[in-house]
């Protein structure tokens, strides 16, 4: 199914004269292209009979929409208080060390974008790390090298 068709399907869920399909359509476009490029925004706008400017104004409001390219994988570490008091900052720093980039940046090989994010809603299972939008719980700094190897596509070697 083309992106255009997928957007028409999601559009049919909502009342005819509403713009409600904008968020789901942006999500579909981002899944297709990895980020919301000017071309992607135009494609969404055309499919919804609105303007790229409107789509960008909406997309720029929400943290999960990427208006610049990101890596193949997205690692998001919650650094709000419940995670921070049990070591989220050490987890961020471990990722920075393994990936060789700062939070907010993408590793040089283009594989992984690292971000610190606000509360992910898993506070009792801290530290929460969302890897490509799926939560890992109770993550410690020691767990980080294995996660990075997994994302870099290097198979885990067992044993010590």
């Amino acid at each position: 199914m083309s992106l255009y068709e997928a957007i028409q399907d999601v559009r049919a869920i909502y009342p005819d004269d509403s713009e409600s399909a904008v968020l789901p359509a942006l999500r579909l476009a981002q899944a297709e292209y990895g980020w919301l490029s000017p071309d992607a925004l135009r494609e969404v706008a055309d499919a919804l009979e609105t303007t790229p400017a409107y789509c960008k104004s909406v997309a720029s409001f929400y943290d999960q929409f990427h208006l610049v390219p990101i890596g193949e994988h997205l690692v998001e570490v919650c650094t709000n208080v419940s995670c921070a008091v049990v070591g989220a900052q050490q987890v961020v720093e471990a990722f920075e060390g393994e990936l060789g980039c700062h939070a907010g940046e993408t590793s040089a090989d283009g594989k992984v974008t690292l971000r610190a994010v606000e509360c992910l809603g898993g506070c009792g299972w801290a530290t929460i790390v969302a890897v490509d939008n799926h939560y890992r719980t109770h993550v410690k700094a020691d767990d980080v090298p294995a996660i990075v190897r997994e994302l870099q596509g290097v198979s885990e070697t067992h044993g010590d």
């Binding site: 713009e19 409001f61 900052q89 939560y135």
Partner: protein, 443 residues
């Protein structure tokens, strides 16, 4: 106070996988629905009023009364909408995550009963974009109902995903977001019951509230109202996190003390540390000192201490936590999440962060502490929605209850924790936003 409580919201989850329709039905699931449908919508609403259930999202508004505000279709000839607020994003709260993940069918049954009660055919569940896990569970549960028209009736349930914005937990911002706009709060009135989604009568309820509806219909409102304490009936699912041995969600009897929740359910403070403070109901609630935790966890008891259950996120902080740094981290959160629509919040939240940062760095004088409280006053009560207020209220409470620690930052020319605080140098997302200049506090 006994720690054992008969579970209502999470009932059956200890022995059954209630994400499966067959198992939910085996424990009596989807029995309340025909019972409710045999009643008139007004009777269902009456039952909720009798139950004294109050909203679990944070505002604690009586649920039955909220439903009763929806006008008849003769008064306003438009479709009625039920919008479920599943945008749980309050730091410290993660109960709705677990409720949707473990009892999706009880939640859906609650949606269907509520839809009947407000004469609605359209339910939108607005779930935060980050909750991929609960989203998939909900979609699978709805899929299981595909061949069960007697359950679905003529009601459509749409699970609508957000895309990362705390403000969308505010009900009118949520409606804006659901209408495909930037999630900025509307001015009220009109209230959603009259003019909500698509300018139509709309009820917005929290996930836990909705999930409590089937058990209430099953046992009867009067029975439910016998549980708990006055003004806080039934049970409450609390989220426990921070410096506590067993973080997690616990369904408790209201009135249980905060101390018992931390020690008996949470297993106390790890690493042999001492308790310092407790955030009782999510980041937006007034802090409790270690000497205040014998308070009962209910509306009236916490109200006497000028705080609240909020969205029931209890964050436990041990003696390694610098209160100024706590203020910085939460204020950075509100600054990051301010939608920018009204000035006191947009400007005030970053001023609070900047002044607190000045204190933490040892560049502050007594005048800065006064300025901090002055900015709190200039925010509080002057915003469209509670986001800015929350930042102002909590920071003022930190100063009120830990003034000595603020003074120490001034007199010692920096943080008395000397880099040993559990919140030292935590990277907040706002710090990654290099494109927006940050306000400088004048020297």
């Amino acid at each position: 106070m006994a720690t054992e409580v008969k579970k209502i919201v999470l009932a059956g989850t200890d022995d059954h996988d209630l994400t499966k329709l067959a198992e939910y039905e085996a424990v009596g699931g989807y029995k309340a629905l025909p019972k409710a449908r045999a009643m008139t919508p007004q009777e269902v609403t009456e039952e909720l009023i009798t139950s004294e259930l109050r909203g679990r999202g944070g505002a604690f508004f009586p649920t039955g009364r909220k439903w009763s505000f929806v006008p008849s279709k003769e008064q306003i000839p438009k479709p009625h909408y039920l919008v479920v607020n599943a945008d749980e994003s309050e730091p410290g709260s993660f109960k709705d995550n677990e409720i949707m993940s473990r009892v999706p069918h009880r939640f859906i049954e609650g949606c269907l009963i509520t839809a009947h009660s407000i004469d609605s055919k359209h339910v939108f569940v607005d779930i935060r974009g980050e909750y991929s896990g609960p989203y998939e569970i909900l979609v699978n549960a709805l899929e299981e109902l595909k061949d069960r028209p007697e359950i679905r009736g003529d009601v459509t349930i749409v699970v609508h995903r957000g895309a990362g914005a705390y403000i969308c937990g505010e009900e009118t911002a949520l409606l804006e977001s659901l209408e495909g706009k930037r999630g900025q709060p509307r001015s009220k009135p009109p209230f959603p019951a009259i003019s909500g989604l698509y300018a139509s009568p709309t009820v917005v309820n929290n996930v836990e509230t909705i999930t409590t509806v089937p058990p209430i219909i099953e046992m009867g409102g009067a029975e439910y109202a016998k549980l708990g304490v006055p003004n806080t009936r039934g049970t409450r699912v609390v989220s426990l996190s921070g410096n506590v041995v067993n973080g997690g969600n616990y369904e408790i009897a209201p009135g249980m003390t905060v101390r018992a929740i931390i020690d008996e359910l949470g297993g106390g403070i790890p690493d042999g540390r001492e308790l310092k403070a407790v955030v009782p109901g999510g980041s937006s609630t007034v802090i409790l000192t270690k000497d205040e935790i014998d308070v009962g966890y209910d509306f009236d008891s916490l109200g006497q201490l000028k705080t609240a259950m909020g969205s029931a996120g209890i964050v436990v902080l041990d003696d390694r936590c610098c209160i100024v740094q706590l203020g910085i981290r939460f204020s950075e959160f509100y600054e990051h999440e301010s939608c920018g629509k009204c000035t006191p919040c947009r400007e005030g939240t970053r001023w609070l962060t900047a002044i607190l940062r000045k204190l933490e760095d040892g560049r502050a004088t007594q005048a800065d502490l006064d300025l901090l409280l002055d900015v709190c006053d200039r925010i509080n009560g002057k915003c469209l929605c509670p986001l800015g207020d929350s930042d102002a209220i909590i920071i003022a409470s930190y100063v009120a209850k830990f003034r000595d620690e603020f003074i120490a930052h001034i007199e010692e020319g920096g943080c008395p924790f000397g880099g040993e605080s559990s919140l030292d140098h935590v990277l907040a997302p706002i710090a990654m936003h290099t494109h927006s200049p940050v306000a400088e506090v004048p020297a």
